[in-house]
Amino acid sequence: MYIYLPIAEISINIFLILGLGGMVGLLSGIFGVGGGFLMTPLLIFLGVPAAVAVGTEANQIVASSVSGVLAHWRRGNVDIKMGIILLAGGIVGSTIGVYIFALLREIGQIDLAIKLSFIVFLGIIGSLMLVESTRAILRSRRPGGKRRKLHQHNWLHGLPFKMRFRKSKLYISALLPFGVGLIVGILSAIMGVGGGFIMVPAMIYLLGMPTSVVVGTSLFQIIFVTANVTFLQSVQTQTVDVVLAGLLLIGGVIGAQFGTRIGAMLRGEQLRGLLALIVLAVCLKLVWDVVITPEDIFSLELLR
């Protein structure tokens, strides 16, 4: 059964979209990640225009983050003060990002820019995760390894505008979370991701936040940043397809339910290792796409 997507302006098999949503939902349930960083490239592989994939994915992440944050909210795992500072950076960053996006689209380089950004970030995150999880698996086989300190003090702690974050038990410069939010915001707009896969490690290792509040706080921030991206992309580029977003979400919600159950049966470091391999596989496919000689070196775009 085919469905005509009103904004993407393509006709696509409805079960393919539901299946994709379900599969990415399953993975995000298993691994506890947002899934935007997998969904956007997979949509592009399916033939959805890259710009529409990015704009639509931002919209879908709003929905999945809302459903995710509620559970954390009830358990009090959201550091609102930290979230608001991250958010301030995120709003500035994503606004800049949407302008960069529109500019790249104008000069005909947006597809390449999206692919290269994914290659760089999926490559880095995938490799780091693989190394870390391999070490963790090796360490667990050799008991008695020494534990690392929670966080180290360095020049970052000398920055001005210090603030107290009670829930995170931190006294750090507000510039740090603002900066993290800013960078993640730019990426969020250009890549159509929530940015959790960058923000979570940054919050743990750079800001030194306790792991218990990291996920809830990042989801809280992601809702507003992706909402901002959704709004700005709608205004600037008209690339948000609500029908596509809705279908992906339905598949995603169902997939995530099964994913969480499977995830509970597997061990943490094995999970991270597996996710790292998936991330690297998507990254390699994208590298392949930009490196091999294209079937036709010419391409067309119908202008409005």
């Binding site: 995710g68 205004v235 809705g246």
Partner: protein, 257 residues
């Protein structure tokens, strides 16, 4: 869905017309009667749209060296052509040119291959065939270095691959009087007016012609969403966010354990 009710209609149309045309033929018509019609003149791009097939049929006084050529042209658009080249191992769009208006859809069907029907000169004058679609750049756009013919060939090749342009010679004339041709509009067509020209060639020269029009429109929910997104972008953005928040909240409620 479309093809479901087109099939019986097609049969009916063919039978009715065949009888009608045959009675004319026996009456011994002296003049050329070129009559053509389409089984559908409105095509709606709805939520379940996946392309449409139309049937064009008509009658002519067919003699030995006669031919029928049918041209369907979609709304004219500017097209950007981009050329990739390898820059430090990566394929990047390095050259681009913007074409002045060309038809976003072009199907030309004929009874025999075009170059058999008429001379290259005639075809060029009448603008028939993919090669005779105008290839003009907009002001300020240029093709540096390379041969424009390579770019023109690239345009034709890519439009053909997308199913938007095509050239075929599968019009059949039955009993020297009835002709029919299928018009396939793929799922990626643009809405707008599609002009249909039906040309009757006799001994290599244009003898008679007639016109028809197909109106392709977005209809239903998909049309409304598209209009909303393009006419009221800020409102659409807010709607998209509210929709997502509502869906997310709903999903959390349904699956809360």
């Amino acid at each position: 869905m479309f093809s479901l009710f087109i099939t019986p209609l097609r049969k009916l149309a063919a039978i009715v017309l065949f009888g009608y045309a045959a009675s004319f033929a026996t009456a011994g018509m002296a003049q050329d009667v070129l009559v053509a019609d389409l089984n559908e003149k409105e095509v709606a791009i709805t939520t379940d749209f996946n392309g449409a097939d139309l049937l064009l049929f008509g009658t002519i006084d067919h003699e030995l060296n006669d031919d029928v050529v049918i041209i369907v042209e979609g709304p004219p658009k500017h097209i950007a052509i981009r050329q990739k080249s390898r820059v430090s191992g990566i394929w990047i769009n390095t050259e681009s040119a913007t074409l002045d208006i060309v038809p976003s859809f072009y199907q030309i069907s004929s009874t025999r291959p075009l170059n058999v029907i008429a001379s290259t000169k005639t075809l060029k004058e009448l603008g028939l065939g993919l090669n005779n679609i105008p290839f003009d750049l907009v002001d300020g756009s240029s093709i540096s270095g390379e041969d424009p013919e390579v770019w023109k060939a690239a345009l034709i090749r890519n439009m053909k691959n997308q199913g938007l342009w095509n050239e075929n010679s599968d019009i059949k004339v039955r009993k020297k009087i009835l002709f029919r041709s299928n018009i396939h509009l793929p799922a990626n067509i643009l809405p707008g007016e599609y002009h249909v020209r039906i040309l009757h060639f006799r001994s290599g020269a244009l003898f008679n012609e007639t016109y028809s029009l197909i109106n392709v429109q977005k209809k239903g929910l998909s049309a409304e969403i598209y209009q909303f997104a393009h006419n009221y972008p800020p409102a659409y953005g807010i709607f998209a966010i509210m929709f997502a928040v509502f869906m997310g909240w709903g999903a959390a409620r349904v699956f809360r354990r």
